[in-house]
Every structure is written in C-alpha cells, then in structure tokens.
C-alpha cells in the first residue's frame, strides 16, 4: 500500500499550503481585529447614481482594468 505515501504527501502539501496561508494571515494582521469586520460587512455602499452615459461607464471600466494589471 505504497499509495499512502502519495496521499499523506498530498494531504501534507495541502496542510502546508494552509499553514503558510495561516502564518501569512497572522503576520499581516488579518486577525488583529475581530470586532469590526463582522459589522463592516453588513454595510453595503449606497448605489451610486449614474449621471453619466455608457461612455463614462466604459471609461471607468477601462480604468479598473488598468488598475488590476
């Protein structure tokens, strides 16, 4: 049943990735504040009224795309 080497390896790999993610999260302060995030997610921004036409929409979309690069 050599297959267990593979499966334990794969499971450990997953565990290591999760561990790395956990360490990253702790070190970047993801868990420093456990009070405000559950409240903050409840507030969605009011929909912004659209005074601009399609051109403006497209321009902003392009800007966003640019920002994502």
């Amino acid at each position: 049943m050599n297959i267990f080497y593979l499966l334990i390896g794969a499971s450990l790999l997953a565990a290591l990735i999760f561990l790395a993610a956990f360490i990253w999260a702790v070190r970047t302060g993801q868990f420093d504040d456990n009070e405000t995030p559950p409240y903050r997610m409840l507030f969605d921004d009011e929909p912004v009224e659209e005074e601009n036409g399609n051109k403006e929409t497209e321009r902003l979309r392009d800007e966003e795309t640019e920002r994502h690069k």
């Binding site: 049943m1 080497y5 993610a21």
Partner: protein, 819 residues
C-alpha cells in the same frame, strides 16, 4: 484618501444564478427519474441511455457540480466583490469560468449518458473533461486570488477564507485522483489499481464532500446569513478557529469509507479518529450560525430566506454528527452498503446545500435587482413543501436501511441465514422506494416555485450589468521599483501568485513523473493464483463499468459471518492488483458480486442464467428491480481497441507477456466461442462476438482465482436413504422456500427453462428422480451447471421439505416413471 469610482460586475452573478436554477432543476428531475427506476424498473425503458447505472452518475454529478457548483460561483462572485470593494479581477477570467463550467456540465451529461465513465464516484468524467475541469478551476482560483490582490479593503472577511480553501483543496484532490492512462479519447484506465485505487478514490470522495459541499457553503453561510438577518456573525473568533481546524482535519478522514474492507487496520483507525474529531469544528459552524439568529428569531418567522438558513444549519449539524457516528467501525458495519448512506447524503444535499443556496438566492436576487421578492408567500410555500419533501424522502430510506441491516444479518436457530435470498429483503424495501418518490416530487415542486418566484422578481426589478460604486483606494504597491523597495519585498508581494503557479506546475509535473514509477511497481501480486483478466474478461469488465453496475453492486466481501455465508470468502487486498479501476462500489441495491465466478460458492450462476437475467431480469425473478440489458445481446464487441487496451494495461504493470497485444484478439475469440458453445448447449443461440459473452466471462472471473475447484460429482456414491415428510404443513413450508429460492431458475410452476434450467414437472430427471437423489441434488447442487449446494443455506429438514414439495406437488409423473 482618494475616492475611486468603479463598477461591480453583476452580469456574471446573474449568469451563475440562472445556471444554478436551470441545472438544479435538471439534476432534481434526473434524481426523481432514477428514484422511479428503483421502484418501477419499467421506467428504465429498456433503453441503454437512461438505465439507472448511467443516470445515477448524471444525477450525482449534476447536483454536486452543476447545482451546488454554480450556486457557489454565484455566491462567491457576488460576495467577493462586495466584501473587497472591487470588481472581479478580470472579466475574461470570469467569462471563461462561467462558460467553461457550463461546457463541462454539458459534456458531462452527454458522455455519462453515453456510458463514458471512469466509474470512480463523483469523479466519473473521462480524462479530456478532467483536464478541462482543471483548467477552468485554475481560472476560478486565479480570478479569486487576483481579486484579493486588487482589493480596497485590507481585511479579508471570513467567508473568503472558506472560498480559498475550496480552491486549493479541490485543485489537489482533483489532480491526484484523476490520474488515468488514456486508451482512446473517451476511455482510460486509472493508474492506481484495486485497494490503492479505492483509497485514492475515497480520499478524493470524502474531501470532495469537504471542499466542494462544505467549505464553500460555510463561506456562503458566513456572508449571506448575517446579511439576510442584518446582524453580525455571533462570534468572529469562532469562525476563524473553526475554519483552520476544519481544513486541517478533513484531509485525513477519507478511509472511513472503506472500513472492514481490504485496507490496513491503521488506516481505518486514522480515518475514524479524524472523523470523530471533525464534530468539533463542524458544530462550531452550526453553532455560530444559529447564535447569529439569537434575538432575531421573530424575523425567521417572516422570512423564507432565513427559514432555509435554519433548516440548512440544522441539516448540517445532523449530517456532521451522523457522519462521524457512521465512521465508527461497529456502526459502519451495519450502515455501510445500505440506504442509510443515501439518506445521509440527501439530508446533507437537500437540507444543507439546498437550504443555504435557496436562502442565499431568496435574499440575493431581490437585492441585486433592487426590488422586493415577488411573493414571500410563495417562498414560504417552497420552504414548507421542500422541508416536508426532505423528511418524506429521508425517513423511508432510514427505515429501509434498518430493514436491510436486520434482515441481512438475521440467522435461524439452526444457524443458517434467515433470508438467504437477497431478493426477499429487497422486496421489503420497495414500498420505501415508492415513498421516497413522493419526497422527491415535493422537493421538485418546491424548486419550480423557486424558479417562478425568482423569475417574477427579476422581471419586476432592474439589475444593471454594471453597478456603480465608490470606495477609497487601498495603498498598494505598483510594479517593481528598485529605488523604492528591495527585490525581496517585491518577491514577497508576488509570492502568493508565484507559489500557486509553481504549485500547480510542480504538482502536475511531479505526479506524472512519480506516480507511474513508484506506485504502479508496488502492485506486486501477493496471491499467486490471482491472474490478469483475459482480453474477453477485460472487455466484459469495461462493459460492466460502462453500464454503471457499480452503482448497485459491490465487489468486496467484508469479514463478517453474515457476509461470507451469503456471498463467499471475504476479500483480500491481493485479489485486486489488476483492477484498474477498482469496482468495490458503495451500495448494495443488488447483491455483492465479488464471488460471482466462484463455482462452489453461493453466488454462482451459469452462463444461461446470466443470459436470461440480462435479457429480462423480471423473468428470472418477478420482483427484481434490475433494468433489462437487451442491447448486450445485440452489440458486438469492439475487438479493434483490444490491443491498445492490453498495451495500456502493460504500461500500468499488468504482467501480460510481451507482444501479447497482437495475440489478444485471437484469445478473446477463442474464449468467446467456448462460452457461446456453452450457451448453445443450453438452447441459447447467440453469436460469439456479442457484448453479452464478454460480460458473462467477466462475471465468471470474479472470485474464481481464489476459489476451490468444484467438488467432483459424488453421485456415484450410495446415497443415504431419506424419508420425505408428507404433512401439509411440511409441503407448505417446502413451497415457501421453493418460491423464495428455486423459482428464480426453475420457475414458480417448476417448468424451468430447459435445457439450462430443467423442468421439474416431467418424468425426466438428470440426476435421478428418487427422493434420495433429489434431496442429494439440493444438498450438493451441481456447481458446474450453475446450481449451488444448498446445504450451506438450508438445514436438512428444510431440504427434505423442498424435495417433498417438488416431488409430491410439482412433479406430475408417478414415482416409478421418473428417470
């Protein structure tokens, strides 16, 4: 800080919502159809495309990947954008994710119906689709991680962690489990064999439940429940703790699917231990969800969305308690292979997955369409119909499971199985199968109400594809600027992207290199008598896989007396070394077939019986629910692919002699001729090139290698005299057993189907018609001809009653006249 204006992508969310609704309904309809097939086999229509074995994988895959999958994507694409205050990373990736996933679903439906399957449960899709899944899945992860990188909110809310775990978990599982060597575009063999294949499969199967049906749904729960009730989650800390513990524990619980099967004991113990530990983080999620509703239960009364969340959490709590309990070896001994498993997964699927996704949709659709739900009343009707449907579905199946475990294990005071005929037990369960159809119909009705309600809501509202929003920018580092930062800092920032790309490349590359070398070589034959499948048997096995026989028949006998008495010798790891893929199955709607080829065992049936049974199971067994397989008698064996199949098997380490691929077709024909001649002797005319011949060859291979040769005919010996009982009570008892056991072959009136199944009513007796000879025939059977020895199934008194019934009631010839 600078206020940035941007647009949320609502279009992708709408697309996924519609995909969820449409595919969800298709999946439930297919489920209802196969439920009908189990209760009324005529619904199989005698048509290969829609038999139970082909449609069940369609149902399971459609529910998991089409309904729940699209529901997850809809929920993730909406909540990620809102939580991180940014548009999704890349519209093109979103589109590939959406259209790619729908293409996979479409291909899956078509190929599964056509019988292209790997037969590994919930991973049935063949290799080209597996590759497509990997590509689309990576696209999804890339898009998600990209979105995190460009977020405008520093904190990554709990829900997103669950989404990330989903991506990573499924990526690893899918890649490891899908290693198969292609024979042709739509046929491949798993690189793992037998017990090893089973372990990989259930490591995958269990974790697919974890990372596809649990983690993403918990993520959805953490976003949509607080939103719907407009309260923060009860404990954010608990959400973090139970997230990390759950994802670390889940990966190790897989072996609990293989308890008491051919698997090392330590692996079984490991699976059980981790399963029990999983109760804690699982219930952490349930408790966190329920307590979020504290002080707001009045709102549950008025909101269908919240009601669905409550039922979802309840079902989650039930299923995650029930699951660990079922992983205890002593509990598993009785629940495994029964309908308990089916009830368990439907509580989780309909209750938990369905509940959270329905709740999410009822909240989300009105919000993005900026209107109210069209009819809260209709939604409540959906809720009650659906919940009732779940109960009416599950309770009969639990009942059926209890019936199965009691009757499978029941012994008479004399020490024989009380119900040696598997059919008799199944007959008791059919009413439960009818009842569950009612449950499924209710669930489907609810689903229709959901679609009507949401369609009307969408009609009433307006949802721009681009939703304008504003948010302050998050300070973010641009491209590498050596003057401002060190290379190391930059690498660190890009580290996540790099590591993911590197991981995928390494995982695939490494696995391709390593797996064939290390793991195939370890399939060293340990039982000398076990030989590779002959080309004909291999072909029969592929047909067995194509028809999805594994959905109802297991091929592994556990080491319990009540299993070895019913099926034969218990299974050993060494028996399966040539099984690519393994065929242990997970459910016994029909009897286990691991010993179907053991001539001296209780499961053996001769070729003529199999032929008649495949053509019309109900003719052989009135109450049978097996579909008819008439096409096996009409389709011809595709001999052209045999050489490449042999070559692939050789690559996988199956020791066919070198150059055997050239000889394989001849060997196949030769063996087929023998079986065809055997059938001809029984009065059945079928050309030797038919698929039926191959399947019979395969069934006769099962368990044959480790069985004892059939005992030599001892009819020559002087038989001890017997005195047949004459009392009416004895004849009645004999008749009862006759109907249960003998009628399967010899017919209810004893007419049989000569010459394969001799007529018991005439004056001709092959093995003698004296009371002594008839009793002897029942006692010792005639294994070579397909009649098993009943001395291991019935006490002597009952054998004599049977002989009395046959000779005195059924047989019309006079005592002197019988030959």
């Amino acid at each position: 800080m600078e206020l940035q204006k941007f647009y949320y992508d609502n279009k992708i969310v709408k697309q996924f919502i519609w995909a969820t609704l449409i595919w969800g309904m298709v999946a439930v309809i297919v489920g209802l159809w196969i439920a009908l097939e189990l209760a009324f086999p005529g619904v199989n229509l005698g048509l290969d495309l829609v038999t139970f074995g082909r449609l069940r994988p369609v149902h399971t895959n459609a529910i998991i990947f089409a309904f729940v999958g699209n529901g997850i994507f809809a929920g993730v694409y909406y909540s990620m954008q809102k939580l991180l205050k940014t548009r999704m990373y890349n519209d093109m990736l979103s589109a590939i994710n959406f259209w790619g996933w729908q293409l996979i679903i479409l291909l899956a439906a078509i190929t599964l119906v056509l019988g292209f399957t790997t037969s590994k449960e919930y991973a049935e899709l063949e290799w080209p689709i597996d590759i497509l899944i990997a590509i689309v899945w990576v696209t999804f992860g890339w898009n998600m991680i990209g979105t995190i990188m460009v977020r405008r909110v520093k904190h990554i809310y709990a829900a997103i962690w669950w989404y990330l775990a989903t991506f990573i978990g499924i990526a690893i599982l899918h890649i490891v489990n899908s290693f198969e060597l292609p024979v042709s575009l739509f046929k491949s063999y798993s690189v793992y064999a037998g017990a090893q294949d089973a372990v990989v499969q259930w490591w995958y199967g269990h974790n697919a439940v974890a990372f596809f049906l649990t983690t993403p749904i918990l993520g959805l729960m953490y976003y949509y429940l607080p939103k719907a009730v407009n309260r923060p989650i009860y404990s954010y800390k608990l959400s973090i703790i139970h997230f990390w513990s759950l994802i670390f524990l889940y990966m190790w619980a897989g072996p609990h699917h293989l308890l008491y099967q051919a698997l090392p004991g330590w692996a079984q113990a490991l699976g059980t231990t981790f399963s029990i530990m999983l109760i804690a983080p699982s219930w952490g999620g349930m408790i966190n969800g329920f307590l979020t509703l504290r002080g707001a239960w009045d709102r549950v009364r008025d909101s269908a969305a919240l009601k669905f969340f409550v039922v979802g959490l309840t079902a989650y709590g039930m299923a995650t308690f029930e699951g660990p309990m079922m992983s205890l070896k002593n509990v598993n001994a009785i629940t495994h292979f029964t309908d308990w498993t089916i009830a368990h997964v439907h509580i989780a699927g309909m209750g938990w997955n369905g509940g959270i996704i329905f709740g999410m949709l009822y909240w989300m659709v009105p919000v993005i369409f900026r209107t109210k739900l069209w009819s809260e009343k209709l939604a409540n009707a959906h809720f009650w119909i659906s919940t009732l449907g779940i109960l009416i579905y599950a309770i009969p199946l639990y009942w059926a499971a209890v019936t199965q475990w009691l009757m499978w294990r029941e012994y008479t005071p004399e020490g024989f199985l009380a119900y040696p005929n598997f059919m008799e037990i199944l007959t008791h369960i059919i009413p439960m199968y009818v009842a569950r159809i009612v449950g499924g119909t209710l669930f489907l009705t609810g689903f229709v109400l959901l679609i009507i309600n949401l369609a009307k809501t969408m009609q009433a509202g307006k949802c721009p594809n681009e939703e304008a929003a504003e948010a302050p920018a998050l300070p973010r580092l641009g491209p590498l600027d050596l003057e401002k930062e060190t290379v190391h800092r930059w690498l660190e920032r890009k580290g996540i992207q790099f590591s993911i790309v590197a991981f995928i490349v390494l995982a695939i590359g490494g696995a391709v290199e390593i797996i064939p070398m290390v793991f195939i070589k370890s399939n060293i034959p340990t039982i000398e008598a076990v030989t590779p499948y002959t080309p004909l048997e291999l072909e029969g096995r592929d047909i067995y896989i194509r028809e999805g026989c594994y959905t109802c028949h297991s091929q592994v006998v556990r080491p319990f007396r009540w299993e070895t008495d019913r099926y034969g010798e218990y299974s050993k790891i060494g028996e399966f070394v040539y099984d690519h893929p393994y065929q242990w199955g997970s459910r016994r709607t029909g009897p286990d077939l691991a010993r179907a080829g053991n001539m001296s065992g209780p499961m053996y049936k001769n070729a003529a019986w199999h032929f008649n049974h495949f053509m019309d199971p109900q003719k052989m067994n009135e109450n049978s629910i097996m579909p008819r397989y008439p096409w096996l008698g009409a389709n011809t064996i595709k001999a052209k692919t045999i050489p490449s199949k042999i070559r692939v098997m050789q690559k996988l380490g199956v020791p066919y002699p070198e150059g055997y691929d050239q000889q394989a077709v001849d060997d196949l024909r030769e063996q087929a001729e023998i079986i065809a001649a055997d059938l001809k002797a029984s009065g059945i005319d079928i050309p030797a090139d038919r698929e039926m011949i191959a399947v019979i060859a395969y069934l006769h291979k099962l368990g044959r290698d480790i069985s004892q040769p059939a005992a030599a005919d001892s009819a020559e010996k002087e038989l001890p005299p017997v005195v047949l009982p004459v009392a009416q009570a004895d004849l009645d008892a004999g008749k009862e057993n006759y109907m249960k056991i003998c009628a399967v072959c010899h017919g209810p009136e004893g007419k049989g189907i000569p010459p394969a199944f001799p007529d018991l009513t005439d004056r001709e007796w092959i093995h003698g018609g004296s009371p002594e000879a008839v009793a002897h025939s029942i006692r010792e059977g005639s294994p070579a001809k397909g009649m098993i020895a009943y001395k291991s199934q019935l006490p002597e008194a009952q054998i004599l009653q049977l002989a009395a019934y046959i000779l005195q009631t059924l047989n019309t010839a006079s005592d002197e006249d019988r030959q």
